[in-house]
């Protein structure tokens, strides 16, 4: 079966964000997709269903989103780079499996093309209301990595980055897109395969029996043996020790959970990704991510035309949050404005990190679309008392 078609469709394409995401996954080496249809993510599944068999991969449509992500975890332990894509309602169903992926340190990618919520909400229209859920949605305390594409091109690029981060840090990595980015049709450039940086999971250096499977390396990440390589792994969702066997007591809980948290926090330099636009000498900073970046950037330019010292911090990695950057800026600026298609979620993070040294104002949007640049401009002026 398969293997004849190209995984990397080098060239210029005119496709939407969902399709670009699928192509990014294939370029990254994804060969397993466990899917379930849901607007506005269905096109990711459809594209994977068509493309995977031809490149020697497997598409399976599972019976629900719970099964989809669980199958993805299983496939990852079978050695595959595996992904699923969904929207809010499916994301909620996947929460338990995300926790399982975190504690078992299973690399995989979960794409959420956010839509209006809560609940069934606005199935066909934009939302960004799942950002805090991405951070805290599964029970227990853990760290997560979440990237936020702001264009179809970034859907391609950041899906590759998501796989690389998943393989490096051994956990589910979230791609927090939204319906506007998912359904926008734009030029996407797919480079030649040799120009695409791919990271693969680090395998154990020695034969089975040498080293406990969950003993971390220097970056706090253990090497990953797949099933079928003779390691007789035990992988459990229970709190466990370095051998992988359940050890349900305070000492092991502290050791394991602390390492899973530090694994991300202490490696934040490798994970964080943001862009600074017009931040030099800015006194007012807009912080934006996803589809909101485009109107925010336009608003920044409009405000600057009126002489206001406004800049933009574009968050590409949303979790872990760019705490140091905000703290640093808070010492230099008057105010942060955070336009988002929710009632203030990342705004809370900005406010927390600003520590009162600069004001933080959310520019909310209930969902169903994105802010217009004019609306952002108005909100900034109103916030500055210059309505």
């Amino acid at each position: 079966m398969g293997g004849q078609a190209e995984a990397v469709l080098t060239g210029e394409h005119f496709i939407n964000g969902d399709e670009a995401c699928a192509e990014g996954a294939l370029a990254a080496g994804c060969r397993f997709f466990g899917g379930y249809p849901i607007t506005p993510a269905t096109e990711v599944a459809e594209r994977m269903a068509r493309r995977l068999p031809a490149v020697g991969g497997i598409y399976i449509q599972m019976e629900d989103e719970i099964a989809s992500l669980t199958a993805v975890l299983g496939a990852a332990w079978g050695g595959a780079k595996a992904m699923t894509a969904t929207s809010g309602p499916g994301f909620s169903l996947m929460m338990e499996s995300i926790g399982l992926g975190v504690i078992t340190e299973t690399p995989c990618v979960v794409v959420n093309i956010q839509r209006g919520g809560p609940s069934t909400g606005l199935p066909t229209l934009c939302g960004q209301g799942d950002m805090m859920q991405a951070r805290w949605g599964s029970h227990g305390h853990y760290e997560i990595i979440a990237l936020s594409p702001s264009s179809p091109q970034e859907m391609f690029d950041l899906t590759i980055r998501a796989f690389n981060l998943a393989e490096t840090f051994r956990l589910p990595v979230l791609v927090m897109a939204d319906e506007v980015v998912g359904h926008t049709v734009e030029r996407v450039r797919i480079p030649p395969a040799r120009e695409i940086k791919i990271v693969n999971r680090k395998k154990p250096p020695g034969p089975p029996g040498r080293r406990p499977p969950f003993r971390p390396g220097r970056n706090l990440v253990p090497a990953l043996a797949d099933a079928g390589e003779g390691f007789c792994l035990h992988v459990t969702g229970l709190t466990h020790d370095e051998r992988g066997y359940p050890m349900t007591d305070q000492v092991h809980q502290d050791k394991l959970v602390r390492r899973l948290i530090d694994k991300i926090r202490l490696n934040v330099g490798e994970i964080l990704d943001y862009q600074e636009l017009y931040l030099d000498r800015a006194k007012i900073v807009l912080v934006a991510y996803g589809s909101t970046v485009r109107p925010a950037l336009r608003a920044v330019r409009l405000l600057r035309e009126e002489g206001l010292p406004v800049g933009l911090l574009k968050l590409t990695t949303v979790w872990p949050f760019a705490e140091e950057k905000i703290r640093d800026l808070a010492g230099k600026v008057e105010a942060f404005f955070v336009p988002e298609v929710n009632f203030g979620q990342i705004a809370l993070e900005v406010e927390r990190c600003a520590g009162g040294r600069a004001r933080t104002l959310a520019i909310p949007h209930a969902g169903g679309g994105i802010h217009s640049p004019a609306r952002i401009v108005e909100a900034v002026k109103a916030g500055l008392g210059r309505g």
């Binding site: 466990g34 068999p53 669980t70 199958a71 299983g74 079978g78 595996a82 338990e96 459990t236």
Partner: protein, 266 residues
């Protein structure tokens, strides 16, 4: 070997039978993988020296599906309890059987949720007492062989945990058979279910199950219903051939339209 199961629990015998079966198949242990869920039976994964996956409640089957599809050379079996596989996990069993994924599902049925102290489950007999059916269970239990057969399982059998000889043979057949094989293992739970229904010691429960059961191979799965006043029907009920999910996937990919090679949008 120290383990967490109660004295008299049938899971231990089932595990022994399983190990015997694995050895008899001749499949090298490195090619076997076991996936379990949550519950007393779910702990089996931690006692087998194989690649073993102790997953979330009810989700062993989709995990095993992903594992098997990603690495088809593995012989993957699911070993879990009835509450895990058929209450919370019921939907996943239905679809795995429908797809005929090449997996073996071993289900220990002790008629309650034992690990959490003995609550009512989808396989608790009508009228039985549990901590959450203190006035007597008001629900009809599932008929697992019938459900499995109806959903498309290619191998369906039910034996008592104490019958390690027939169990080992059933496991061996199931492990070697392509497609979704299902073996139900009826086990005593003297600590929870047995105690609350005054079924005596473990030995007395085993004698009871033994004396109240009858082997009827090849009988229609609808006749394997568990009901008061009727003998517990044991046997091998289904053993047929059907293309597996992977057989069909391979056939489709080789005859279906290929994605247009080269550049260009959809």
């Amino acid at each position: 070997m120290p383990h967490i199961w109660c004295p008299g629990c049938g899971i231990g015998s089932a595990v022994s039978a399983c190990i015997t079966a694995i050895q008899r198949t001749g499949i090298p242990p490195r090619r076997m993988a076991v996936v379990s869920g949550i519950g007393c039976t779910g702990r089996v994964a931690g006692y087998l020296n194989l690649d073993s996956f102790h997953t979330t409640h009810g989700r062993a089957i989709p995990f095993a599906t992903g594992l098997k599809l990603a690495k088809p050379e593995l012989n993957v079996f699911v070993f879990s309890g009835e509450g895990d596989l058929f209450s919370i996990g019921g939907n996943h069993f239905i679809h795995a059987a429908r797809r005929n994924i090449d997996l073996t599902v071993i289900c220990v049925n002790n008629m309650n949720y034992g690990m959490t102290g003995g609550q009512v489950s989808a396989n608790t007999p009508l009228g039985a007492r549990t901590t959450t059916s203190p006035y007597g269970n008001t629900e009809i239990p599932l008929n697992l062989p019938s459900l499995a057969a109806a959903c498309g399982a290619v191998y369906v059998a039910r034996w008592l945990s104490v019958d390690v000889r027939r169990l080992a043979r059933a496991f061996e057949e199931a492990l070697l058979k392509p497609g979704l094989s299902f073996v139900e293992v009826i086990s005593p739970c003297p600590t929870a279910f047995g105690r609350r229904n005054r079924l005596g010691t473990a030995r007395e429960m085993i004698r009871l199950y033994n004396s109240q059961s009858v082997i009827r191979n090849n009988v229609h799965p609808d006749e394997t219903v568990i009901q008061e006043g009727q003998k517990l029907v044991l046997g091998k009920f289904v053993d047929l051939e059907r293309p597996t999910f992977q057989d069909r996937l391979a056939a489709a990919a080789s005859t279906g339209p290929a994605w247009p090679a080269g550049k260009g949008s959809s």
